[in-house]
Chain length 215, copies 2
Amino acid sequence: MDLGNHPTVESHSDGTVLTSAPQDTPVDRATAAARRVLEALLLTDRANANLERVAEELNGIAEHLEQHAPEVRERMVDMWSGEGVTRHDPVTGPENAIAPPLVLAGMADGSVRGEVTLTIPYQGPPGCVHGGVSALLLDHTLGVANAWAGKDGMTAQLNVRYHRPTPLFRPLTVQGRQESVDGRKIHTIGSITADGEVCVSVEGLFIDKKVPRPR
Amino acid sequence: MDLGNHPTVESHSDGTVLTSAPQDTPVDRATAAARRVLEALLLTDRANANLERVAEELNGIAEHLEQHAPEVRERMVDMWSGEGVTRHDPVTGPENAIAPPLVLAGMADGSVRGEVTLTIPYQGPPGCVHGGVSALLLDHTLGVANAWAGKDGMTAQLNVRYHRPTPLFRPLTVQGRQESVDGRKIHTIGSITADGEVCVSVEGLFIDKKVPRPR
């Protein structure tokens, strides 16, 4: 992440929202609706006789959106322009229907945290969050914690421990905090808790380097 | 996973498909179309004047699907019925628009593998797969490798190493293999390679226990 004018614990106050919260714009509303569709597709009656027509309508919408899309290269430059907070990632991106989306805020104590309730699309074991989804949320949260601390990089290693099943349908607290910086090595930890109990904890090693933004 | 009649390396031949490949059914076609919509929403022109109407249409479709959905508890019993291969998970599930979906096959040498090309919804660093998405794919693949080996369980620990950026838009090979079983502890490894080079490797520790299926 290009930290340019990105908020850090040094420059910003307790509770600063670090991700791009959903806005009342057409693209955010359409993405929220797509999120609702993908969940409803998992829940609806498999024998629903209208699923054929739903498929046709969704393909029609996709075709329209594709016809109004610039070249991918060009779109990627646009995606990555701006102040360092992106809107498209699969964890916090309000424009990405895969993202719950998780909203993370920076705390005065140096940590970042957010609350999220996950539902059926994120299921692993029956009624529980998929272990890989927890790893996805935590990897991203550690990256945001690094940016809040003022020094970030790319994930080199992620050690995830699963202490107990993480429940669906219940509020989860996702947290991260940079522990130390040793030259180019950055150590960051995090956790997912439900009802005050740690379900998943993580230790990450990050290296201070970047993939350049497309221009 | 209830291994009941689940295929294993002992009982099945090289190349047995272990996940539920997309079928030519209305629900799979509708989910594939939803996947196309969520990608197109990330790519389309942000100034597209019709996004407002797209949001309305998608909400209309979601409402219809929700009106034809049974109670979540009831639907979950149905989701988890059958022979042990589910269709709804966020990695291989053809009925889950979050899933690419990855299709995994069991090999006679005991490994499982699949090929997948990931696009913009799975982006982390510019042009690269999100590190957490790689962890998600690998966690799931190790679970499938355990089932193929004939003894599976829940993830207790996942150690993921990132060797080089994992590219979007290029075929990736995702592999897993059970290394050893020591009482209730199961050790499993895996990797994601692109153009023959390892991008991500993983070591997983699984514990032989299950969350019961809903009834």
